[in-house]
Symmetry: C2
Subunit: 189 residues, 2 copies
DNA sequence: GTCTATACCACGATAGAC
DNA sequence: GTCTATCGTGGTATAGAC
């Protein structure tokens, strides 16, 4: 059920997808869905909450590289692109369907999102303190870099002009440059 | 009617807003709306098409500054932030409701969007040729910079910690740096 | 040009048979 | 655990009075 809902919500939007469609997608009748979810709203929340929890858990599971803040920023950028590329549907829903959450569910998701952003903000702060990064404003740089990185999902399609790895390299370059990394240089190849 | 639909679509989403709600917002009955629009889909398309046409027209009306590509990139960044900040609702709809357009309407909007992106791509190409900008890939840099700039709309609220002008300055700095501008430096103040 | 009334359909959710 | 059937609501869009 989660998979079917994820796919349909991502394609058509929460408000445009009916419980009957979701049921049809998995080959049961609409009534059967209510054995597994209290209502449609809970279904949406579970998808978004699961995605955000998985994001934070995956980040917590990465081993932060030795080295300066530039290295950690690069690590974050690569992690972000890879994690999001592997879950395009969930990412799309997490950004597009926020307004369809009830107030209390929205608060939960917002908190998780803020916690993730704080991870990047911390790296930028450390870089600023170390002197290897130069950002005009920590908060704005955090939002700008995440927007840039997440934007990959809006256009990237496997099998296009550039490979996933190559796109990752190019974005890392732009992220480091935007953050004023002392040793940033354009990748070749 | 346009204003009411714009406001409601931006707040609740196209699929979640009924013609009855739009009618109620302007103080008439639902049936009366059909004197001014063929159907709900046309109403959405008109809003999005009008926004994109206005965007391209406004850009065409700006006087490109004398100087190198760095100057023109800064000009583009400031134009983009200002235009989008002034029309938050329309911008939101233009990005969120693409999937609710019919196939042919979608094609029209997509073409307009591509034409706008081409304006930025051209500046980056010129900068690359002039040697004052260094981007690893024109296409990716175009997408990355537009995503970064448009992202301002997701969090900026008038009356917050930073003024509109200050936000603009900071983003210009990050854009120029990300594009490898030869003379980029962090703004103070 | 706007109203009331309504046709027709789909929605989310539940009840009760099996 | 899944089905069929259904309740109550609200959707888009149209018809015809005024």
């Amino acid at each position: 059920m989660r998979d079917a809902a994820l796919k349909l919500f991502a394609r058509d939007g929460y408000a445009a997808v009916s419980m009957r469609q979701i049921a049809s997608e998995i080959g049961v009748q609409a009534g059967a869905l209510y054995l597994y979810t209290a209502d449609k709203q809970s279904l949406l929340f579970d998808l978004m909450n699961g995605h955000m929890e998985a994001l934070l858990a995956a980040w917590a599971d990465t081993v932060p590289p030795q080295g300066d803040a530039i290295t950690r920023l690069e690590h974050f950028a690569r992690f972000h692109i890879r994690f999001h590329a592997a879950r395009a549907d969930a990412v799309f829903i997490a950004y597009m369907e926020l307004r369809n959450l009830s107030d209390e569910n929205f608060a939960v998701i917002e908190d998780l999102r803020r916690r993730y952003e704080a991870e990047l903000a911390r790296i930028l702060e450390q870089g600023q303190a170390e002197g290897c990064l130069t950002v005009p404003d920590i908060k704005l740089a955090t939002m700008a870099l995440i927007a840039m990185l997440t934007g990959v999902n809006t256009w990237f399609r496997e099998g296009g002009r550039l490979s996933r790895d190559r796109v990752e390299d190019i974005y890392v370059d732009m992220v480091l440059k935007a953050a004023g990394a002392a040793r940033a240089g354009t990748p070749t190849g």
